[in-house]
């Protein structure tokens, strides 16, 4: 009797079950290890600028003079922080109305073939690599801006335009999901009251799905804020706070892209680039926090 029980515990399927479960737990554990080491390494490197005393936090965040090669060097990252926020906000301003219209087109205006038409378009737009967007920005948008507006064409406006196309798919797909999950009877009651389609859209559909649409916009902004190469190629990379939209500027990502390869590890210049990476990381947390906040509002 005892022998039989013991045998059954080590039957093949028990061992299989155990191995499978351990393997899967290991994979999940790996995810945890990755994120913890990532936050730890980037944060400790990013903080080292301030610990070594080269720069103070307020000089870094609010200093407007970036001249790492000069004597004495100054590491004010405000121009880049401002540049990042400026292109991100502009891109969201351009992309949001377009995306919301696309989502309405897919779900409200022509639900049948509208979705069939726009779904692949959105997928392809999100599939085009960022360097290709940068290349097109450089060879189409920049010459266009140069010929129509004062300035060199490169600058904040070019960056924002390129980014707005890149975040279109993000906002559109989130907004379309939200619109199509809206209960049908809400719309029907509005129509029954004699409202036109636009009245229904503007007074019923948009207000109810607003938190979800905002979620899409925040996700798009997160993508725009972290985008490196496409922006770097068209923004001009001048380390100043831009005074006009057609003036050359820089973002956090563009400075890191250009500087990381040309500075030695451990130098104050290099460390300040890591501090910018830390700012990028912290902003990611802020964006996710906002998304969670909006999702919570969406549930109620």
């Amino acid at each position: 009797m005892r022998g039989k029980l013991k045998q059954s515990r080590f039957e093949k399927h028990h061992i299989e079950d155990f191995i499978g479960r351990s393997y899967m737990s290991l994979c999940v554990l790996l995810l945890v290890v990755i994120i913890i080491s990532m936050v730890y390494f980037v944060a400790s490197k990013g903080v080292s600028t301030f610990i070594s005393g080269d720069v103070t936090v307020s000089d870094f965040l609010f200093g407007t003079k970036w001249s790492p090669e000069a004597e004495p060097a100054s590491y004010g990252a405000f121009p880049f922080i401002a540049g990042s926020f400026l292109v991100t906000l502009l891109a969201a301003l351009i992309a949001s109305p377009l995306s919301i219209c696309a989502a309405l087109f897919m779900t409200e205006i022509v639900p049948g073939w509208g979705k069939k038409l726009l779904q692949p378009v959105i997928e392809l737009l999100s599939g085009i690599p960022s360097v290709v967007y940068g290349f097109i920005g450089l060879s189409v948008i920049v010459p266009f801006l140069r010929n129509t507006f004062p300035g060199q064409g490169i600058g904040v406006a070019a960056g924002a335009l390129v980014l707005s196309v890149m975040i279109l798919p993000t906002i559109t797909s989130v907004a379309a999901d939200a619109l199509s999950s809206l209960p049908q009877n809400l719309k029907e009651s509005s129509f029954a009251l004699g409202a036109t389609r636009w009245q229904t859209i503007s007074r019923v559909i948009i207000p109810t799905t607003l938190p979800a649409i905002m979620t899409g916009i925040v996700l798009g902004m997160a993508r725009a804020f972290g985008e490196a190469l496409a922006v770097q190629m068209v923004i001009g990379n001048a380390p100043f706070v831009p005074r006009s939209l057609f003036e050359s500027a820089s973002t956090l990502t563009s400075v890191i892209t250009l500087g990381m390869g040309n500075t030695t590890m451990g130098s104050a210049h290099n460390n300040s680039l890591w501090s910018m990476a830390l700012v990028l990381m912290l902003m990611t947390f802020v964006f996710i926090f906002l998304v969670r906040l909006l999702e919570r509002r969406n549930k109620i």
């Binding site: 399927h13 028990h14 299989e16 079950d17 499978g20 479960r21 899967m24 737990s25 290991l26 994979c27 999940v28 995810l31 945890v32 990755i34 994120i35 080491s37 990532m38 390494f41 980037v42 490197k45 219209c101 087109f105 205006i109 726009l118 692949p120 378009v121 959105i122 997928e123 392809l124 737009l125 599939g127 085009i128 690599p129 960022s130 360097v131 290709v132 940068g134 290349f135 097109i136 060879s139 196309v165 559109t172 409202a195 036109t196 389609r197 636009w198 996700l219 993508r223 972290g226 985008e227 490196a228 770097q232 190629m233 990502t253 892209t257 990381m260 890591w274 990381m281 990611t284 996710i288």
Partner: protein, 298 residues
């Protein structure tokens, strides 16, 4: 204004903007293909790049991109499947599961340049793997893993509950149900998602600049010994991919035909991604038919 007129105008505006997006995509694709394809030839696809003279190709870069993609998928797919199945079938709702979900979300929204920097710090410098294909593949794993987890989890969740319950009723172990009942049903979705994520990996550049490097050594395509430094298969050599190459020749290219090369390389990149997209659609549908309509494979 009458509400009806307003309605007409608003509808017109919405339709206009929606079609504008379609126009943007068609314009983008048309521009890349028109400008790029005239420069794409067999010679362009297979010859090595030239530094200063015109007429260079993208042979090694194209090979590097494909090889790096294969290496990345070899690491990502098993790990992503494991974590995704855990999230779909084993994780109980609670604090820990919520925390893991948050981790996946955070990991997938980190900017790719931050992932690249993390790779530079940990893999390239700390583990001393240098600018190499392995470093690049590991960085891309960090970049692609959360997506893979999400794809797997969603694929498993779409399997009808009855199938699982039928398995339990037959007295199968959980692992057996996962592998031989749920997995075949979830497979088409997983494959479609994997191919789409492969397209994303193929075009990624920011995470690779500081991990796989921005140079490619002279490769000898007759030498297939993975340990030799000139072999294309050697995973410890630096490898500039197609996407990184486009960025590099745009910002510091010295060849007189740099713009054409960038256009040609962009066209190759975009065509590859188009193929990935179409393949994902058809392959997924094919396997689905194979697994559901006819009797099961194997």
């Amino acid at each position: 204004m009458k509400p009806r007129t307003v309605d007409k105008i608003a509808t017109g505006v919405i339709v206009f903007f929606a079609l504008l997006i379609v126009g943007i995509l068609l314009g983008l694709l048309g521009y890349i293909l028109m400008r790029g394809l005239s420069h794409v030839s067999l010679d362009f696809l297979f010859s090595p790049p030239q530094k200063i003279r015109a007429g260079g190709g993208v042979g090694p870069q194209l090979f590097n991109s494909i090889y790096l993609l294969v290496l990345t998928l070899l690491i990502t797919v098993p790990l992503g499947l494991g974590a995704g199945i855990y999230m779909a079938e084993y994780a109980r709702p609670g604090r820990i599961t919520g925390f893991i979900r948050l981790i996946v979300e955070v990991l997938s929204s980190f900017p790719s340049i931050v992932v690249g920097l993390f790779g530079l710090l940990l893999i390239v410098n700390y583990f001393n793997l240098g600018f190499s294909l392995v470093s690049g593949a590991l960085a891309l794993t960090v970049f692609n893993l959360p997506l893979m987890v999400r794809i797997t989890e969603q694929a498993f969740r779409t399997v009808p509950k009855q199938q699982k319950e039928a398995g339990f009723a037959l007295g199968l172990s959980k692992w057996k149900i996962v592998t031989s009942v749920l997995f075949p049903v979830a497979l088409p979705t997983i494959i479609t998602g994997t191919i789409l994520s492969a397209g994303r990996v193929f075009g990624e550049a920011a995470a690779l600049m500081f991990t796989a490097g921005m140079s490619s050594p002279r490769l000898n395509f007759n030498n297939w010994n993975p340990l030799s430094p000139t072999s294309p298969l050697n995973p410890f050599r630096p490898a500039e991919t197609l996407a990184v190459h486009i960025w590099k020749i745009n910002s510091e290219g010295l060849a007189p035909d740099a713009a054409q090369i960038a256009a040609g390389a962009s066209a190759v990149l975009v065509i590859t991604i188009l193929i990935f997209n179409l393949a994902a659609r058809f392959f997924g549908r094919y396997i689905y038919r194979k697994l559901t309509a006819s009797k099961r494979m194997n």
